[in-house]
């Protein structure tokens, strides 16, 4: 996989535009709970955590799938689903630690993020820069900068941060 959806939750303001953009793009419905990306609200601490499919190397969802519809795409490294085989048993929802398997009640199947074929709508609509679509090298570079800044006690001052 050469491109990643990088989430920097410290920058998220919880506006919900990514959820809306995703739902509209994927289902045509203006309903955030149909989105493949979700923002978790940790109200007591004012934390907003955008969360979506992490495209694990050995996905737990694939191991529990009763119909073997979930697999890894050998070319892109994404976790993909053969939706016509899905019976909506929701076992994958129970196994995914990231809550990234979303039940799409319009199609009565469980779906996950597919990076919109290489041009994610959520990233295009994110106003705060919390979601970015980067190559592996860029993503690692960014992680290193953020972590380095944090260890030097300069959290929030690292390159690329507001």
């Amino acid at each position: 996989m050469n491109k990643h959806l990088v989430i920097d939750s410290a920058k998220c303001t919880g506006c919900g535009l990514c959820e809306l953009a995703c739902a509209i793009n994927k289902t045509g419905q203006c309903q955030p709970h149909l989105a493949r990306i979700k923002i978790w609200h940790e109200d007591t601490r004012g934390m907003f955590i955008p969360m979506t499919c992490q495209h694990c190397e050995n996905p737990l969802c694939a191991s529990v799938c009763l119909m073997n519809v979930i697999s890894k795409d050998p070319n892109t490294g994404l976790t993909i689903r053969r939706l016509e085989g899905c019976i909506g048993c929701r076992a994958c929802q129970g196994a995914c630690p990231f809550e990234a398997c979303c039940y799409d009640y319009l199609q009565e199947v469980v779906v996950n993020c597919d990076h919109c074929g290489g041009d994610p709508e959520c990233v295009k609509n994110c106003p705060s820069g919390a979601l970015q679509y980067k190559s592996t090298a860029q993503a690692l570079d960014m992680q290193r900068n953020i972590e380095g800044a944090r260890r030097c006690g300069m959290a929030g001052l690292g390159r690329g941060e507001r």
Binding site: S9, W40, V64, L66, N68, I87, A95, P97, E99
Partner: protein, 416 residues
């Protein structure tokens, strides 16, 4: 060239074949199975019975798919004997030579030897053929014996089809091995509200009838019915392995080590027919669930190809759809942990209910009804054996919690 022979065509056997093909495109693979059908999902059979899933949709592979990925098939062949010294499989029609053998013979449903269990109208749920036979029988009044996941799903499916369904369970509650008392009673209430009759603590003594099933006689009453479905558990298919000298464990499955090797060199076993160990306790356990079979298949395949891989152990995850309400059980239940010092964290919110079992600061199991979110996080914490004290320490740290953001949904289940 060396070849690999797989006996079976279920989840484990196909997982073996696919994993070998992924790592080695040359080595010849032969699959031998009794049924003539391509791989299908046995877990979805009750859904097919209710009409929710099409019969065609059950099939995960087509017969042509085996040829396409280079697997030779011998379907419809019954193996009579394995000669491990000459490395051959003997059947009525042909003799197959192997260098490495993988046993994935699976399990079969138990029908207790009661009077009348041979009459037409007695069925089990194990294969597509069973579903076809039940539908051809056109059941009206059904007795389901046993209330594990197969029993309850079948009862629900037939009730949806318009049958009058009675569940007879020997133990004091339904789902005796999967749920604790409280969630079990909640599920019982949902089923009774929909019109399924549930008789617990009763034993079926006899099936009466002249030409076909007419009634089921228990120790307390006589239930008029035209169909009896036996869902009282399964038994491992180990006869052929045992006669070949493969060692069995004390629970009745084939004994394997963590690399899925049996006591005989070059013979591996995986799936329902083996006795593996429990991931959480380390004790020997029979794991009759789809995800475990698939993982065991992968481990057996990799070790067969000399890529040493260890099996982590079996962990159960059962997801039941009870009339649209999702009931989930993962890990151990209080019943399997009797005698241990366990702490129960439970809570409810309208129709939602959850219960987490904690032993020595570690999560050992969880059961929920009507919930969809947060389960995966608890499952991952359980498998990682994260102590609860460490969990709360991470949650309290503002910087750390962003790195392990997936901990957050588990909070509501784990708070006192």
């Amino acid at each position: 060239m060396k070849n690999i022979v797989i006996i079976g065509n279920g989840a484990a056997a196909n997982s073996v074949a696919e994993t070998i093909r992924k790592h080695d495109s040359q080595i010849p693979i032969i699959m031998v199975a009794r049924e003539k059908l391509p791989e299908y999902s046995a877990c979805a059979l009750p859904d097919c019975l209710s009409g929710w899933v099409d019969r065609n949709q059950l099939f995960i592979k087509q017969l042509s798919d085996y040829d396409r990925i280079g697997i030779q098939t011998r379907f419809g062949l019954e193996i009579n004997q394995i000669d491990t010294s000459k490395r051959i499989l003997i059947s009525g029609q042909e003799t197959i030579y192997y260098d490495q053998l993988i046993l994935a013979t699976g399990s079969r449903p138990i029908i207790p030897p009661v009077l009348g269990c041979e009459l037409p109208g007695n069925f089990v749920i194990k294969t597509v053929g069973d579903i076809d036979a039940i539908l051809a029988h056109q059941p009206r009044q059904v007795v389901v014996v046993g209330s594990g996941n197969i029993g309850i799903e079948t009862a629900e499916a037939l009730q949806v089809r318009g049958c009058q369904v009675t569940i007879v369970e020997l133990m004091e509650r339904i789902f005796p091995r999967i749920f604790d008392e409280e969630p079990s009673y909640r599920i019982r209430k949902i089923l009774i509200d929909r019109g399924i009759e549930i008789l617990t603590g009763e034993k079926v003594l006899e099936i009466s009838g002249g030409q076909r099933v007419e009634a089921a006689i228990t120790d307390k009453r006589t239930i008029t019915c035209d169909t009896v479905i036996w869902a009282a558990g399964v038994k491992q298919n180990v006869e052929i392995a045992r006669s070949a000298g493969v060692e069995l464990g004390e629970l009745g499955g084939i004994r394997v080590n963590s690399r899925m090797q049996t006591n005989i060199e070059g013979v591996y076993a995986c799936g329902d027919c083996i006795e593996s160990m429990d991931m959480l306790t380390g004790y020997p356990a029979l794991s009759l669930l789809w995800p475990n079979a698939k993982r065991q298949g992968q481990v057996a395949a990799l070790n067969c190809l000399r890529q040493e891989t260890e099996y982590e152990g079996a962990v159960s995850l059962v997801v039941e759809d009870i009339y649209g309400i999702t009931a989930v059980s993962m890990g151990m239940t209080s019943g399997t942990l009797t005698g241990e010092d366990i702490r129960i964290l439970e809570g409810q919110n309208n129709d939602e209910y959850w219960r987490v079992l904690v032993m020595n600061d570690r999560i050992m199991g969880m059961q929920t009804i009507g919930m969809h979110s947060g389960l995966g996080a608890v499952m991952a914490l359980m498998k990682k054996r994260t102590p609860l004290s460490e969990f709360w320490q991470m949650i309290a740290d503002h910087d750390m919690v962003r790195k392990v953001a997936w901990y957050l949904p588990a909070q509501r289940f784990l708070s006192e």
